[in-house]
Amino acid sequence: MTVEQIVFGCYMLGLIGIGVYWNRKADANQEGYLLGGRGLGAAVTALTMQSTAMSGYMFMGGPAYAYSIGWFSLFYAVGDAGGSIVNIAVLGKRMRRLSELLGALSPIEYLEKRYESSALGILASAISVIFLSAYVIAQFIAAGKALSSLLGVSYQVALIGGVAVILFYTVSGGYLAVAWTDFIQGIIMVLAMVVILILGLSRVGGLTGLNESLAQIDPTLLSKWGRGLQHQGQYGVIAGAVLIYLIGYMGLPQVVVRHMSMRDTKTAKSALLFATFWNQPFIFTPYILGLIGIVLLPNIADPEMVVPELAFKFFPGIIAAIVLSAIMSAIMSTSDSMLMQTGTILSRDIFQRFKKDASDKQLLVVSRLMIFGTGVVGIAVALFEPPAVFGLVVFAFGVLGCSFMVPYVAAVYSKKANKVGAMAAMIAGGGTNFIWTAFELESATAMHPFFAGTIASVLGILIFNRFGPKPSKQILDYIDEAEAASYKLVPESLESDVSKMLAPEAKAVSQYLRKKQLVAEQN
């Protein structure tokens, strides 16, 4: 047994230990545990949120893309750096209020109730299930590669082993995936990335030295058009690269759900600040590591292995193994929550709709089939024709973003937006992104799939909105309330502590008071 295998084994046992410890502790206060992570502060929430959000992409996809294209890759990071702020500033409060008024619990139910169409709900569910699964498959590939490098086994064995572990982890999930373990992993990952960055930069002579070396290898690596000037003059590609993570988060069901579940806006605001601060080194580092890889690892067979290879190059075996274990478990944690989500969407939002009297057992079977089905398809794809992690994530992210961004934004900002317009926006946006990627139209049209999809989605809602029925009076009233003239009267310091849990009571009491006032006026 190698040192790395022992470290990995110990790391996993350690995680289980922490999980069991918190689990026991939670026994004393079972209701508190059930009611969710109320005790977790903004910092832990933010670190947990970020560190597990894009693990496979950040450690493998991002560096590999930078390795292949040079400084151009940083356009993705520029958008990502401001993505959370744009997301919360545009949708944040309004979406939270509207979802309260609609009584929607999931982001799909929210769209369905806002646009008053169950067909839209089914379409949204289907898009989510397919492309969230693609996202998970990218994580599988990353897990296979991380494990293969760590344990010194073949990619095939590592992949099957890794996916089996992830599936098991998902089934027994709640016990290990405690926020605190994610927090500790987050710290290890960021520290590791920053230390690798510092050591890497010192080896190549800082950013200046890095650029000089890159210029010697290929001067176009420094160009804003990408290596070999492959995107020369293609502003539509640059726009897409910046926009995808700048505005695309607003179309991700698994991200916008956070607006709906915020208990109060105060924690959300602090979490946002922490996340933004945390984001900066974490977002730019992977791409710069990819650039460092071009200089230090010129003959690497698989560019997705830049970060693991650098870890082994700079650190003694034990530390490198800890870093890779943290990467592996972060990937597991991301896959776990996404797999659970796809299982739930398929069983509740699709299956139960067609079979209203479905028993608990049937729902469970459907959920499990979805999870294991994704596992099997994932293994098949990852074994026979593994796509690049970067490409797959950008594809899945792009289709989800283009499908849902416009309907989510229009839901709170446009009183005219109706079900026909929203469905057209989803089909045109997601479909265009899909076709653009599948037929590789990016270079021919000089336009990024995300940019093309966004334009198609906006046109879709503008054109087809004319054909659908207007939203009902109740929905229009809700949109007014979400914009909330009454909230504007309330001082900010009081408003930030408003409890979401009391929304139904506040709605009922407001109606009760209105009725009382009416009776009083009549008398």
Partner: protein, 173 residues
């Protein structure tokens, strides 16, 4: 005015306590609390006995209580087992029940199962057994507030404050 007897979840915060909560949060803004009116909100409280058998088998075995709002039908887990008190109040201070008890029971049962499964990520079915139920009322304060806004001048708004834990929400005029 007709008086009726109801069981409330807990003695309410006093107007002074409610006022202190808001005054602590107002920070630099001016805030005047002009009036306090108490109302009572109906819930169906159901206690369940829950058993799950996953890895650490005692994890979730125990009592879980659920409150179903009898006006809107919204469900929530009750965070604490509070002491209950029987009081006599004027009937116009009590919100009328709009959800029938059978419907509330069904909603509560589905809610508790979904919550357990969702929170615990359990992929096996938790065993949930009904233990006890009763209709209870929660005291709330309707607070009329006034602020003096720099640009907009004097502004009035209403808050609804939970008389048990002091949490609040804005009322729509």
């Amino acid at each position: 005015m007709l008086k009726i007897k109801i069981t409330i979840l807990q003695e309410s915060l006093t107007t002074q306590e409610a006022s202190d909560i808001l005054m602590k949060k107002k920070k630099k803004t001016s805030l005047k609390l002009k009036s306090f009116k108490q109302i009572y909100y109906p819930y169906l409280k159901i206690i369940y006995d829950v058993k799950t058998k996953v890895i650490t088998k005692n994890k979730l075995s125990g009592k879980v209580s659920c409150l179903v709002d009898l006006v809107n039908g919204a469900e929530a887990l009750a965070s604490e087992m509070t002491e209950q008190v029987e009081i006599e109040v004027e009937d116009d201070k009590v919100l009328k029940r709009e959800v029938d008890l059978e419907e509330a029971r069904e909603k509560s049962f589905i809610f508790i199962k979904n919550t357990l499964r969702h929170k615990m990520k359990i992929l096996s079915i938790p065993k949930v057994e009904f233990e006890f139920e009763e209709v209870v009322y929660k005291p709330f304060w309707i607070i009329e507030c006034e602020t003096n806004h720099k640009k907009k001048g004097i502004q009035e708004f209403f808050l609804l404050m939970d008389g048990v834990d002091g949490k609040y929400h804005v009322l729509q005029p």
